[in-house]
């Protein structure tokens, strides 16, 4: 399953820092936060669909589903905007003949929005790993990052 930027909505404070971070990284923002009925702030960016409709309608095969998820080849893009019209989430945009959508800050370990979010609401994950609370998820990730390193034991003997 591909990874995407997800949000813990209960944490999002609609500060728009993610949008600025994205703009800094990608020239224009590919994530947008808006407040719904004054009660909940929701950031929306490309869902990195497993059956991407944008790629399905792409006549030039500029958007395709590869090993690393959804890939975009600007060289092959003809700028027809069909991807923009196919995306169910309205998260693809054509700017200056180039399709702009979240590519998880290609090449970066952590997407700029995730790294910036002061509320810790954004995270990059596979959809299966969702559920549970932020702490559990973070603990899981730390555990994964540590790999097989022995966990530090606590208690008197170790002092």
């Amino acid at each position: 399953m591909p990874e995407a930027v997800y949000a813990d909505l209960s944490r999002c404070i609609a500060c728009h820092a993610c949008e600025l971070a994205c703009e800094r990284e990608n020239k224009s923002s590919r994530i947008s936060v808006q407040v719904v009925r004054g009660l909940a702030a929701v950031p929306v960016s490309c869902r990195q669909c497993e059956t991407p409709l944008c790629a399905a309608v792409c006549p030039g095969e500029a958007l395709s589903y590869g090993e690393n998820g959804l890939e975009y080849d600007a060289e092959k893009c003809i700028g027809c905007r069909l991807c923009v019209l196919a995306c169910p989430f309205g998260t693809a945009e054509l700017r200056a003949g180039v399709v702009e959508r979240c590519d998880l800050c290609q090449g970066k370990e952590i997407p700029a929005c995730v790294a910036t979010c002061p509320a810790g609401a954004l995270f990059r994950a596979e959809v299966e790993s969702l559920g549970g609370n932020t702490r559990t998820r973070r603990a899981e990730r730390i555990k994964k990052a540590l790999g097989n390193l022995p966990l530090p034991a606590c208690g008197r003997e170790n002092r």
Binding site: L39, V44, A56, V57, C80, L85
Partner: protein
């Protein structure tokens, strides 16, 4: 006329009005404008001989070229053959079902819907989002995402 006499011929039936050709034309000879509920794309009658970018870009393969190179022969009936002026195709724009802003040509949306229904298993509601502009699609998704949290915050 020593210059190009090649004619650019768009196929009004095939063309969906996506504007790929307008983006790609290095001379910016193909232009478009939008007014009320109509998008108009203007094609020049002829253009530089060594460029086929628009035809290559066209997702519908709707652009072809005619070389009236038997120039001597065709000169007599050139008038009937050559459209002397640029050709303009008009496309009706579909309004967003939510906000009413015209956002795509009806033909573009039909094509997208057709491919989607062929290639992807659709939810029971069908491809409802194709009736919405990208901004309203985001809004619908956002609303759905927020539902649970809003309920929780009300109590």
């Amino acid at each position: 006329m020593k210059e190009s006499t090649r004619m650019l011929v768009p196929d009004a039936e095939k063309c969906i009005g996506c504007r790929a050709c307008t983006t790609v034309c290095p001379e910016k000879l193909i232009s478009f404008s939008e007014e009320n509920n109509t998008r108009s794309i203007s094609f020049p009658a002829n253009c530089s001989k060594d460029c086929e970018l628009c035809a290559l870009a066209c997702p519908e393969k709707a652009i072809s070229f005619i070389f009236p190179d038997g120039a001597e022969k065709s000169r007599t009936n050139q008038k009937s053959q050559v459209p002397p002026e640029s050709l303009t195709l008009d496309f009706e724009l579909a309004p967003c079902q939510n906000c009413g802003t015209p956002f795509a040509t009806i033909k573009e949306l039909e094509k997208v819907k057709e491919i989607i229904s062929e290639k992807v298993p659709l939810p029971p509601s069908g491809s409802f989002w194709t009736g919405l502009c990208p901004g309203c699609r985001q809004a619908v998704f956002r609303e759905k995402q927020a539902e649970t949290l809003i309920q929780a915050r009300k109590f």
